[in-house]
Symmetry: C2
Subunit: 247 residues, 2 copies
C-alpha cells in the first residue's frame, strides 16, 4: 500500500509525539527542516502540518513555530474505559475469554468497592483479555445488580461489553483510576502464564453514573511486559495524574 | 486549633474531591444541602464555595450548580517532578539519603536513556527517599554531564535537588513518564526492606530542557504499600494518561 507523502509525513510526526520524541510544549520541526528531512517540496509538508493542526495535535503557528499541544497524546474517555476501544485505537485486535460471570451476595470488600451494604446482590466477572490473541490482562469486575444482570445477555464474541452496556442505557459518567503494582496471585499466575508473585501493573477503577452512584468496580492486572501507562507534562499543565500516599 | 466554619466546609469539599467521592464533572452539593449538612447559615457556605471557585476546583455556577473541574485534583508540574514538592504538598516531611553519586562513562543503556553516544560521560545517582522517615522510594538517576556535575555541590540536607538545579540555571521544560511494575532486585530489596522479587511501582521519567535536549533520566521505584497513582476522567476530558503496549 502506498501512502501519499503528506500522509506519511503526518504519520511520522504523530509517531514522534506518541513515542515521546516530541513532548508537549516542544516546537515541531520547521517546514524547511521537514522538506530537507523528506526531500520534499513545501506542499506536502504544509499539508501534513495542516492535518496535525486540524487534529489538535499541534498549535497553529501564527508566525511562530508550532508546538505540540498538551493534550495531543491524550486518550479520550472511551479508550481508558474500554479495553476493546483502546486495542482498536492501536490497530490491534482485542480478544476476551469470560472465565466467570455470576450473581452473589457482597462480602465486605465488594460492598465497600460498590458503596453498598454488605449482603447486597452483586454481579462479579472474571475475564482474560488478549491483544492479537496474546494474554495481556486479567479483569476482575463487580457490578451493581441492575447493571450486572444485563451481562447475562451479552455475547462476548459480539464485541465490547462496555459498548453493549451503553447500548442498554447504562451511563458511564465519571471514573476514578488508581494505578499501582501487585504480586500475581494463583489465579493471575494461572491465566497470565507467569509465576505466582510476579509483579503485575494494576489499575483499579470506580465508575459512577450520571447521578454519581457507583455502578462498577474493576481490578485489572496487566502483564508489565505487555502494557505500561505513559504521561507527558510540562510547566504550563496541571495533569490529572496524582501521586498519592496510602491512607 | 479551631478552624473557621467556612474553612472547615471548604476543606471537607476538597477532601471529597481528592478522595474521589466527588469526581470531575459531578455537581457540587447545593448551598441548601451544605447548610443542612453543617447546620450552618448561608454566609459560611457561600464563602466556602467562593474559596473553591477561586482555587479553580469547582466551576462558577452562573445560575447552575457548580461542578468539579477536571483539573481540580491535578498536580502541577513541580509536584510530579520533585519528590520534595510532592511530599510538602501533602503536608508530609520528605527525606533523602544519597547512596551513590558518581561520574562514569555511559554504557549502552545509559546512552540510550540520555540519547547520547556510548562512552559519553554521565553522572549517576542512587537515593533513598522517605516520607516522615519511612522509606517509600528508591531513585536511580542519570544526568548529562553538564547538569550532573552541579550535584557534587548539592547539600542534600538543604532541601530539594530539583530546586537546587533550577537555582543553578537548569531548565526542566517537559517530561515524559512511563509507569509500570517491576520485581524488586537485590538493591531495591536491601534499601526498601522488602524481599527480592516483590512487586514495585516504577515511574521512569525522561526530562528535556527548553531546546528539547534530554538532560535527565530517572528510574524511581515505589513501595506499592506506600504510594499509588490516581487519575480521574470523564467523557468530556482527554487525559494525558496513555495506556500503551510495549514495542
Amino acid at each position: 500500500m502506498t501512502m501519499a507523502l503528506h500522509a506519511a509525513i503526518a504519520e511520522s510526526l504523530r509517531e514522534r509525539i506518541r513515542g515521546g520524541k516530541l513532548l508537549a510544549g516542544q516546537t515541531v520541526p520547521s517546514e524547511a527542516e521537514l522538506c530537507a528531512e523528506w526531500n520534499a517540496s513545501r506542499a506536502p509538508v504544509r499539508q501534513a502540518l495542516a492535518t496535525l493542526r486540524a487534529e489538535g495535535a499541534i498549535s497553529s503557528s501564527r508566525g511562530r513555530r508550532s508546538t505540540v499541544r498538551a493534550d495531543a497524546v491524550g486518550q479520550p474517555f472511551d479508550t481508558l474505559m474500554s479495553y476493546s476501544s483502546w486495542a482498536r485505537s492501536l490497530g490491534r485486535t482485542p480478544g476476551q475469554r469470560t472465565l466467570e460471570l455470576g450473581l452473589r451476595t457482597a462480602d465486605s470488600d465488594a460492598a465497600a468497592a460498590l458503596r453498598l451494604d454488605e449482603g447486597s446482590m452483586v454481579v462479579h466477572g472474571l475475564r482474560l483479555r488478549t491483544l492479537d490473541d496474546v494474554p495481556t490482562m486479567l479483569e476482575r469486575a463487580l457490578y451493581v445488580e441492575s447493571v450486572g444482570r444485563l451481562l447475562f445477555e451479552f455475547d462476548s464474541d459480539a464485541g465490547s461489553q462496555w459498548e453493549f452496556l451503553q447500548s442498554r442505557g447504562v451511563v458511564f459518567a465519571a471514573a476514578s483510576h488508581v494505578i499501582d503494582a501487585v504480586a500475581a496471585d494463583a489465579v493471575d499466575a494461572a491465566w497470565l502464564g507467569v509465576p505466582e508473585g510476579s509483579p503485575l501493573l494494576r489499575q483499579r477503577r470506580t465508575t459512577r453514573n450520571g447521578e454519581g452512584v457507583v455502578i462498577e468496580y474493576h481490578d485489572d492486572r496487566y502483564l508489565p511486559a505487555e502494557v505500561a501507562f505513559t504521561i507527558q507534562n510540562a510547566p504550563d499543565m496541571r495533569t490529572p495524574l496524582v501521586r498519592s500516599t496510602r491512607p
